[in-house]
Amino acid sequence: MMISKLFGVCAVAAALAVSTASAAPVLIGNSSLDGVSLSDSDIQAVLLGKNVSLGGKRVVIVVAKASDGQEAFLKSKIGKTGSQFNNHWRKLFMTGGGVAPTQVAAESDVVSVVAATSGAIGIVDDSLVGGLPVVGK
C-alpha cells in the first residue's frame, strides 16, 4: 500500500516536472534562420531593435497579444515587462527608429506567422516549436 502511494506521488512529481519543462518559452525563427544561435546579448539586441538583421535577413519580430511565456521571456532576457516592451517599440515606431513587431492573437499564431515569414522570430512555448529552428533560449 505504502509503495503504491509512493509510486503515485513520484508519478505526479514526474508529470509536474515534465509539465514545467514543457512550459519553457524559447525564441523560434523562420526556416531561413536555420543554424542561427543567439546569445543573451544577441537576443536583447534583436528584440530591442538594435540589430535589425540575422543571417542576412531583415528581422521581423512576431509577438502574441498576451502570453505568460512571452512575458516571462521578455522579463528574463531584456528586463522589460510586456507593457514596457510595447512602449519601447511604440517609441521607435512613432519616431522613425524602427519597424514595429507584428502582433498576433496567440502563440499558435506566432508559430504560423514565423513559419511563413522570411527572417521572422517569435517567442513561444517549446512544446509548440514543431519543426522550426530554435534560435535562442
Binding site: T81, N87, R90, F93, M94, T95, V99
Partner: protein, 398 residues
Amino acid sequence: MKQKIGAIIAMSILLGSSSFGAGSWKGIQFGGFVSQGYLENTGDNDYLGETSEGMYDFREYAANASYAIGEWRIGAQVFGQKLGNYGNDELSLDWATIDYQPSQWFGVRAGRVKTPRGLYNEALDVDSIRPFVLMPQSVYDARLRDFNASFDGGMVFGNVEIGDSNSVDYKLYYGEVPMKLNSGASDYFNTDFPLPNTRIGMDTARGGSLFWNTSIEGLRLGYSSSVFKDFGMDRIITAWPGEPTYYKVTSGYKRQLFSAEYSTGDWVFAIEGGGDSALYDLGYIGAPSAGTQDVAVDYGYVSVSRRLNEKFEMGAYYSYSKESSVFDTDENIVAPDFEQKDISVSIRYDLNYNLLFKLEAHYMDGSGKIFSTPAYPQPVENRDNSWTLFAVKTTYTF
C-alpha cells in the same frame, strides 16, 4: 482641422488596429495618434496659451508609414498640433528618413531626423508611452517642440557591446533646424526685449547623444550635447524713427544634458539635468556692435512612474529651471532671473490598447517660464508666483 483629424481616424479604422501600428499593406506599416487636451490654471498667468481662462487649444495628431527591406528602411510622419498660439493645426513633415544599417554597431540615417537629446526628446509627442500630460517643462518645453523635434541632415548611430552585459548607444548628427517666425521657439528666444522677430535661424546644428546601458539591469546613463552655429534673430524696433533692425547673434548656442534612468519591475525612475549657454553679440545692422548678452539656462528634473495594473499608471516629478542674462552694453541693462519650480502628479487610465485618458495637477512656484511677447505681454511684475495648473488629455493611438 476637424477634417484632418477625421481623415486620420478614418484611416486608422480602415486599416484596423493593434498595439503597435494601424496595420500594414504590402509590407508598408502604418500608424499614428490623435490627442486632445485641456489646460487651466489658477490666477491670471497664461502659460502655454490662454490657460487662465481654460484652454482646449491643446492637441496633436500624426500619421506615419514605414517600409523595411534588408538593411534599408524608409519612413515618414506628418504631424499637426495646436498649443495656444502655436502650431495652428498646420500639417508638417515631422520626420522623413532613409536608414541603412549594415550592422548592430553602425547605421546611417538621413532626411528629416528626430533629434536625439536626453531620455525622451525623440518621443515627446508619443503620449502612449508615459503617464504624464506635460513632460517636465524645464527640459522639454512644449513650446519649443518645433525647435527640439527634428533636424534636416544626417546621423550615424549604433549599439556597441563593451563586454560584461554593458553596451553603448551612440547617435551623432549634423544638419540644420528649420525655424518659423510664428513658432514657440521664436517667442522663447525673444523674452529679453519683446520686439517682433523678422528673422530667426542658424547656419548648422550638430550634436548627439551617448547612452551607457550598464550591467545593472534597467540602469542607463547618458549625455547629450548640441551646438547651433551662428544662431540668431533680427528684430524691428517699431517705436524708433526709421524702424532700425536690431540683431542678436551667437557663434554657438550650446546645450548639454546629463541623464539617468532606472527601470525595475513596474517602476521607472529618471533624473536629467543640464543647461544652455550663449554669448550673443547685439547691435544694429550696419553699425558697430553695441555689446553682448551672456545667457545661461540651468534646468533639471527628477521623476518616478509606476504601472499599477493593466489599466492604471501613476507618475510624479519635480522640475526646476532658471534663466539668467548678463548684459555688457553702454546702456545699464539689468535683466531679472527667470525661475520656476514645478511639482506634478499624474494618473493615466488605459481603456484599451489604443485609447487612454490622463489627469494631472501641477503646483508652480515662480513664473519664469511665462512668455511676455509683443503680441501678448505678461510683464514679470504682473505675474502670479504661486499657482496651480490642471491638465487633462486623451489620446487614441493606432
